[in-house]
């Protein structure tokens, strides 16, 4: 649950980028950081292994200005995608307000996407939450790989396997080139803010 500070008129919102390993969660945050460098005054925090994989999380605070007189501080987190790091994934999910699920569009990663989404549901249930209750955006990442002739899952297949029941907003994106990275972020912020508004009134 977001923290609303009535005294300082400030809201802190936690948005987590979830998804299978090597799917592009960190790349999403890196693109956002490079794009909005001037507005993000602090360094992006990353806890990585020597092999450059996320070990614990990445953290990027992002001020979006005032909404109804409150300073809104968006805090973007990623989780480590590798299966073995589930304990840390669960820790990062604590108090989450909105989720971006970054799916890997490569045909060979179909199962990994499904397993990661299932794992997200399991971890949320530890906090007595379900995917239906939390603002969610799906991002079908790595669309740029089509140009290199790498087989990708079609939009319909991705929708069918991941989004059939959830019916969440979804974007085809390329975190590497930046395509739809900002659109994904804007949508999750909008959904999260309107859900918070409902909870607070």
């Amino acid at each position: 649950m977001a923290f609303v500070n009535l005294k300082k008129k400030e809201i802190q919102v936690k948005i987590v980028y979830y998804g299978p390993g090597r799917g592009g969660k960190t790349t999403n945050l890196e693109y956002i950081y490079s794009r909005f460098n001037e507005r993000i005054k602090t360094e992006m925090v990353t806890i990585k292994t020597h092999g450059d994989r996320t070990l614990f999380f990445d953290f990027l605070p992002f001020d979006i200005g005032k909404i109804k007189g409150y300073d809104v501080k968006i805090q973007l987190y990623t989780v480590p995608g590798q299966v073995k790091y589930n304990a840390t994934r669960r820790l990062v999910l604590r108090g989450v307000d909105g989720i971006v699920f970054v799916a890997d569009s490569m045909a060979v990663r179909k199962e990994k996407n499904i397993l990661s989404l299932k794992n997200l549901e399991e971890n949320l249930s530890a906090y007595k939450k379900t995917l239906k209750q939390i603002p969610l955006v799906l991002q079908y990442n790595k669309r740029d790989l089509a140009e290199q002739g790498i087989p990708l899952l079609s939009h319909d297949v991705l929708e069918g396997t991941l989004n059939q029941e959830l019916k969440a907003a979804s974007f085809e994106a390329s975190a590497l080139t930046g395509k739809n990275v900002v659109a994904t972020m804007k949508r999750i912020i909008a959904l999260t803010m309107s859900s918070l508004e409902k909870q607070l009134t």
Partner: protein
């Protein structure tokens, strides 16, 4: 976890942090929740730490250390403290969902700080339960 803190509660918490902790001569004290949100923050005014990142990392760190404690059969570790050459950092849990993070230099003794932190936490718990 869901909680609401009113203006008077936040004022009282800041008063406690000021009189019990800041007045010892520490550099900075931050009360956060386990999700990494900052609830109250006081410092001497002459430091430029990125406390939002600090809060996110402190919450993650505390969670990780608690998980380690459980693996070796401990409920939790009572002393969480990192020593640097100029600055040190001390963490202390407040009830189940909050964490008090204190940054202090050479001029403050750890033992005295721990005693004062324990006192402050008692007062903060009362305020949070109001």
């Amino acid at each position: 976890m869901q909680y609401t803190l009113g203006q008077t509660q936040l004022d009282s918490i800041e008063d406690v942090l000021q009189s019990d902790i800041m007045d010892l001569g520490v550099t900075c004290v931050v009360l956060i929740d386990m999700s990494g949100n900052i609830i109250a923050h006081l410092d001497t005014g002459d430091i430029q730490h990125d406390i939002y990142s600090l809060a996110a990392l402190a919450a993650g760190n505390f969670g990780a250390v608690s998980a380690m404690a459980k693996i070796i059969g401990e409920e939790e570790f009572s002393l969480l403290f990192h020593k640097g050459t100029k600055e040190n950092i001390h963490f202390s849990k407040v009830m189940e969902d909050f964490l008090l993070v204190t940054i202090f230099g050479k001029g403050v003794s750890l033992g005295f700080l721990r005693m004062k932190v324990a006192e402050a936490i008692g007062k903060i718990e009362k305020i949070l339960k109001e």
